[in-house]
């Protein structure tokens, strides 16, 4: 049971890290592409 709780916790932690990394990646993509578009405008 304890091992199952621990495993569940690790799995949640891993999914949280990946999800938040995806969120950070979205921010980077939006920032990079938006600033590139703005720079390209005359």
């Amino acid at each position: 049971m304890n091992t199952a709780i621990l495993n569940g916790f690790y799995i949640y932690l891993l999914s949280a890290v990946i999800s938040l990394a995806l969120a950070a990646m979205i921010k980077v993509i939006v920032y990079a592409l938006t600033s590139a578009t703005n720079k390209a405008k005359p």
């Binding site: 199952a4 495993n7 938040l20 592409l33």
Partner: protein, 443 residues
């Protein structure tokens, strides 16, 4: 005379000759099937799924006949046969066996539904507030995580516990995919439980919101942004879909078909491929949903569902969904306090990934108290993130669980031979191939 009549109407004879438990279960499932059709027609449960499922349940439990060697069976599908020779035989007899073998047992149908869902999603809602949406989606995965150790405590193996825990993600195709990968022997009850409960979220979650969020908080209007937000271009959304798909496939190759299906749907929509968008969001999605419902119905055979684990699965399924709903609202409350009490906690419930039902439920609940409160954009963001986090958790479960604890080894490529069922041909069929004529089994 009566014996002759019964021989003519084999459905009745098989009902009378099977034991009282099996007979009662068959009758009970026929009644349940009719109830599902009624509730689907009335809009209490999802009609697109419940009407085919109800009819499937009725037909499979009424249409039991005597096959070769006086064995009871049906002419719909046998989910337990996987030995190639028998499979070829049965495909020529059971009319839904080709659909089951070629689309259901390899997860294709779940992927087709996911492609359709992807083509309907607008990830702009996620991309305009990624951290908020991801936070709520993670909070709403609480049931998926908490149910896992609880299920282990109830005596399930790690594989079965992970499969039933996925019900908390409230995403039918994902539950189907996980249980096919991890618990092939009980994937039928798990998927049926999942789809029955997902129908109930629409009716049950409003009560949870009213119970946990006071009316004053339900009427909070979301803060307007200081500057008007520019809509994101399709190029930005397409870039995200491409990078996220590549990254997640790298991390979880076992769940790569799911990620591909979801993001290809998104990409098709954002690339402006109208013909493909119409194809995926229309015929593919609705065709797959129809056959999914029908197949789930015909898999609800009394002898399949007379599994001692079924009661445990029923309890764990509802527990998982309930905890996920509570987790989502708790996430909403966390943002309410972090944002200086100016955030509507109801948005948190939309983190449960039943797209778009949970977002619609959240909006409906606040509109009932104050029609001027619009939380749908935030709710849809959390809802779509819910799909992504559930896919990530599915990827982690199918990758990690087989390698830890008392898990049974999952083999997604080779199909396990669970039971070698006797040849299932109608007893009086003269034209159907017999067991002896089957081609030799290939290793």
């Amino acid at each position: 005379m009566i014996a002759n009549l019964l021989q003519m109407f084999q459905g009745l004879e098989s009902l009378l000759s099977s034991g009282p438990l099996l007979a009662c279960t068959r009758v009970g499932l026929i009644v349940l099937g009719a109830l599902l059709v009624y509730m689907g027609t009335k809009g209490i449960l999802e009609p697109l799924l419940m009407i085919p499922m109800g009819f499937g349940m009725i037909a499979v439990n009424a249409g039991v006949l005597f096959l070769e060697n006086h064995q009871l069976g049906t002419l719909f599908v046998d989910p337990l046969v996987t030995e190639p020779g028998q499979l070829v035989n049965i495909m020529q007899v059971d009319f839904l066996q080709p659909v089951y073998t070629l689309t259901f047992s390899n997860g294709l149908i779940a992927c087709l539904v996911f492609m359709g869902i992807g083509s309907l999603l607008d990830i702009g809602y996620v991309m305009s507030r990624p951290f908020e949406s991801m936070f709520l989606a993670l909070a709403a995965e609480l049931g998926t995580i908490v149910t896992f150790p609880v299920a282990v405590l109830c005596g399930l193996s790690y594989n079965d516990a992970a499969s039933i825990a996925m019900v908390g993600g409230a995403d039918g195709p994902m539950v189907l995919y996980t249980s096919l990968m991890l618990s092939k022997d009980i994937f039928v009850p798990i998927t049926v439980v999942a789809y029955l409960y997902l129908g109930l979220t629409y009716g049950g979650y409003p009560y949870l919101i009213r119970l946990l969020v006071p009316k004053k908080l339900r009427m909070i209007k979301p803060a307007m942004p200081a500057k008007p937000v520019k809509p994101l271009s399709s190029g930005v959304k397409l870039t995200f879909a491409t990078v996220a798909c590549a990254l997640l496939c790298f991390l979880f190759p076992v769940a790569a078909p799911l990620f591909l299906s979801l993001f290809i749907g998104v990409a098709v929509k954002e690339a402006g491929l109208k013909e493909f968008t119409t194809l995926l969001g229309g015929p593919v999605l609705y065709g797959a949903t129809f056959f999914l419902g029908l197949m789930l119905g015909v898999l609800c055979e009394a002898k399949t569902l007379l599994d001692p684990k079924i009661f445990t699965l029923l309890c764990l399924g509802v527990f998982s969904l309930l905890v996920s709903g509570i987790g989502g609202i708790a996430g909403g409350y966390a943002l309410y306090f972090l944002r200086g009490r100016k955030y509507n906690p109801v948005i948190g419930l939309a983190g449960v990934s039943c797209v778009p039902s949970c977002a619609k439920v959240a909006q409906k609940c606040v509109s009932k108290d104050d029609p001027s409160v619009i939380i749908l954009p935030q709710a849809l963001g959390a809802n779509i993130c819910g799909v992504i986090t559930t896919a990530i958790l599915c990827g982690i479960y199918v990758t990690v669980i087989p390698s830890i604890g008392n898990a049974k080894k999952a083999d997604p490529v080779k199909v396990r031979v669970e039971t070698v069922a006797p040849a299932r041909l109608p007893a009086d069929s003269g034209t159907a191939p017999t067991q002896g004529s089957s081609p030799p089994a290939t290793p």
